[in-house]
Amino acid sequence: MDWDKLVQLLVSGLTLGSVYALVALGFSMVYGILKLLNLAHGDVLMVGAFIGWGVIGWLGGAQDPKVAVWILIVLMLMAAMAGCGFLGVAIERFAYRPLRRAPRIAPLISALGVSFFLQNSVLLLFGSDFRSYETFDLVEPEVGISWGPLTVWIIRLVVIGSAFAMMAGLWLLVTRTKLGKAMRATAFDREAAAMMGIDVDKVIVKTFFIGSALAGAAGVLVGLVFGQINHFMGFNYGLKGFTAAVVGGIGSIPGAMFGGLFIGISEALSVGYIEDFTRGRLGSAFSDLVVFLILIVFMIVRPQGIFGKPEVKKV
């Protein structure tokens, strides 16, 4: 057994998983409150990644940034979160709110339209080439925390750390604040919440802001770790985020965190081991197959997800 490889894969799975968890959280929060699959969520992440890239360029590029590296990263995260938060609010206002009372399929088609619009707008503005964060110029790959023969790149730790910090912040927000209480009430029963004096529309707008801001931050983290971004990257992260939310239990916040880490680690492990297991018949590109199988197994065995409660139909 090659323990180094296993640990490396676990670290990269944790990195990937914390990004998926951030995506799954925003997706799951919106689903909890509106019962709406926000199919444009992945593309919000993509926009966030481009905002972060814009901030690097604006502050002098990765080789020679005008500010300290950690300030640069914080600024990128803040800009992407603010930009994506407002983007999410705009999407809610113009694409979803007019459809509150429409048949369930209508907002989904609208979401497809938003997703397509965002992708192609970015394509129009920035072209189809991959854009690079050039993170290696920002932080050398050797810089990190060593543990025996193993070195974990500092950027990975930054990504994992900031993702967990944001999740902890969200958890406090939802469980300890008045807004969190209003969000939980709205998710539980929108009409009853409205009758109790909660301004449901405001809660929905704030939920969209928070969820999209998390996606924007995830976009910057993806750019930092993997370096390359393009207009189509949102599809993959959106898809894995949805899967994570479903596996964890759609609408549940701990479920989304757990589901994200679970999917991320499964994907990293299958990238690393699928060739050995299938004796070279399937390459690492087939790691998606493993994730899909996990999704199918959950659909059959436990459709409500790990932390979800079974749906009860009311007549």
Binding site: Y31, K35, L37, L39, A90, R93, F94, A95, P98, L99, A102, P103, R104, I105, A106, P107, L108, I109, S110, L112, G113, V114, S115, F116, F117, L118, Q119, N120, S121, L123, L124, L125, G127, F235, N236, L239, F242, T243, V246, I250, G283, A285, F286, D288, L289, V291, F292, L295, I296, M299, I300, P303, E311, K313, V315
Partner: protein, 480 residues
């Protein structure tokens, strides 16, 4: 449909509010056309839909247009199949184009030198339809318990997986695809000409639309509509909801399979890139624009979308289409008649004023010439702001004006929908229209391929907000 005839007596089983809503609806000319279409006998409708396709080749002698005609028919088939899942059963099938791809690759597997087989199409196409329908059934099976939202995720993932497999597997020959697929062969006679392929697609269209019409009139079709309107009520009426959903899903997949089995030999090769997200959203746009649930609507929607996409490919047509649609939309949406004229006149004057100011302040802002070559673009060069060097060699916009005004246009257009007062709406429309013209000349015209899809995405959102039933669909009137 209508139980009690005649407007005087109250109609049995129809709520008063619903009846009044229907009366209000009946006053609009579009609704009257729709009703006339609905009342027309089915055979007549079929004739009216198929006849334009049948006479189209008589007037066309360019190969390009024949190819567009074949593509349009294949798109119509795809839209008809998606309509079963989306329009009739009410399921969001996001893996739909994967079934189109499966059909195409299956044809490649039974009729290509690579496979070493050459099956007769009269045998291959029905078999492929059944095989793809079965694959659709299998994909739908795991999400049967909580179909709907879960189905959307599973099918979307299925599409992604299908593309991953196509690109990486050895049997599909990766991104290079399978080339030299044999042409269709019916009972020993090969169809090689464009006209021949066109008529094969036309015959498939007539057969499939007739089949779908009969299916919709059948017990199953009624059950689908019932369960789309209210799943719980349908279940209480002892309808086997899950089985019905899976059936609808499978029938849609089967139709996509037929479309794929015609597409592969017509194109002569299949590539993974033929079955991507862009195609999926295009087919959705067709179904939604035409009106999900209506066979006539979906057919018209597919023709309109494909024709516009083709027209937008070419920069000189594109400008005519763009400005034409704006003028027609203004004339249709703004009543009474003087309002659109006032807005258009004000926009022209506003444009000249801005252009004049810019020329005085900074001449480089207006020194450029637009990307389009049509007369209309030359006319507009002296009206919109066009900085020198608007695009780089690879077609990417360099100018800040294009990008900034693109984002400003989106913000302004969205903001305009929030304005309540009619007067301010009209006033606000003037700069928005001018901004749209500037964005068009600076940015969109330089990238017609992307612009088409931006417009399509925006159209989907706008349609859902303002006319979710599309052109020919019927809006459901509910008692709240």
């Amino acid at each position: 449909m209508t139980l009690g005839e005649g407007p005087e007596q109250p109609r049995i089983g129809v709520d008063e509010w619903v009846a009044s809503a229907e009366e209000r609806r009946a006053r609009s000319p579009l609704a009257r056309t729709q009703d006339a279409v609905d009342r027309a006998p089915a055979a007549l409708k079929l004739l009216a839909l198929a006849a334009p396709f049948a006479i189209f080749p008589l007037f066309i002698d360019s190969e390009y247009l024949m190819q567009v005609g074949i593509d349009t028919l294949i798109f119509v088939l795809l839209a008809l199949g998606l309509n079963v899942a989306v329009g009739w059963v009410g399921l969001l099938d996001l893996g739909y184009v994967a079934f189109f791809g499966i059909g195409a690759y299956l044809y490649a597997a039974v009729a290509s030198p690579y496979a070493g087989r050459y099956w007769d199409a009269a045998l291959a196409i029905p078999l492929i339809a059944v095989a793809v329908a079965v694959s659709g059934f299998l994909v739908g099976l795991p999400s049967r318990r909580l179909a709907g939202d879960y189905l959307a995720i599973v099918t979307l993932f299925f599409l992604q997986l299908w593309l991953v497999v196509l690109i990486n597997a050895s049997w599909s020959r990766g991104p290079n695809g399978i080339a030299d697929i044999y042409p269709l062969e019916f009972f020993g006679r090969q169809v090689t000409s464009l006209d021949g392929n066109y008529f094969v697609a036309l015959i498939a269209f007539v057969l499939i639309i007739s089949f779908l019409y009969l299916l919709n009139q059948s017990r199953t079709g009624r059950a689908w509509r019932a369960l789309r309107e209210d799943e719980l009520a349908a279940e209480l009426m002892t309808m086997p909801v899950n089985r019905l959903k899976l059936m609808g899903f499978a029938v849609g997949a089967g139709v996509a399979g037929v479309a794929g089995a015609i597409f592969a030999p017509v194109q002569g090769a299949v590539f993974p890139g033929n079955f991507d997200l862009i195609l999926l959203i295009t087919v959705y746009a067709m179904v939604v624009l035409g009106g999900a649930g209506s066979l006539v609507g979906v057919t018209v929607g597919a023709v309109v979308i494909n024709a516009s996409l083709e027209a937008l490919r070419d920069a000189s047509n594109a400008s005519w289409l763009f400005y034409g649609v704006i003028v027609v939309a203004l004339l249709a949406l703004l009543k009474p008649w003087w309002q659109p004229l006032a807005v258009l006149g004000a926009t022209v004057l506003f444009g000249f004023a801005v252009h004049e100011i810019a020329e005085q302040a900074r001449p480089s802002l207006v020194g450029g010439t637009s990307f389009g070559e049509a007369r209309i673009d030359e006319l507009l060069d002296s009206w919109v702001l066009l900085p020198v060097d608007i695009v780089t060699a690879d077609g990417l916009p360099t100018g800040w004006l294009g990008r900034v005004s693109y984002i400003a246009l989106i913000a302004a257009a969205l903001g305009l929908t929030l304005v309540r007062s009619r007067l301010w709406q009209l006033v606000g429309l003037v700069p928005v229209l001018y901004l749209a013209a500037c964005v068009w000349a600076n940015l969109l015209l330089a990238n017609p391929a992307v612009t088409r899809f931006v417009l399509m995405g925006a159209m989907l959102v706008a349609l859902m907000a303002y006319r979710p039933q599309g052109l020919f669909g019927k809006q459901r009137v509910e008692i709240v």
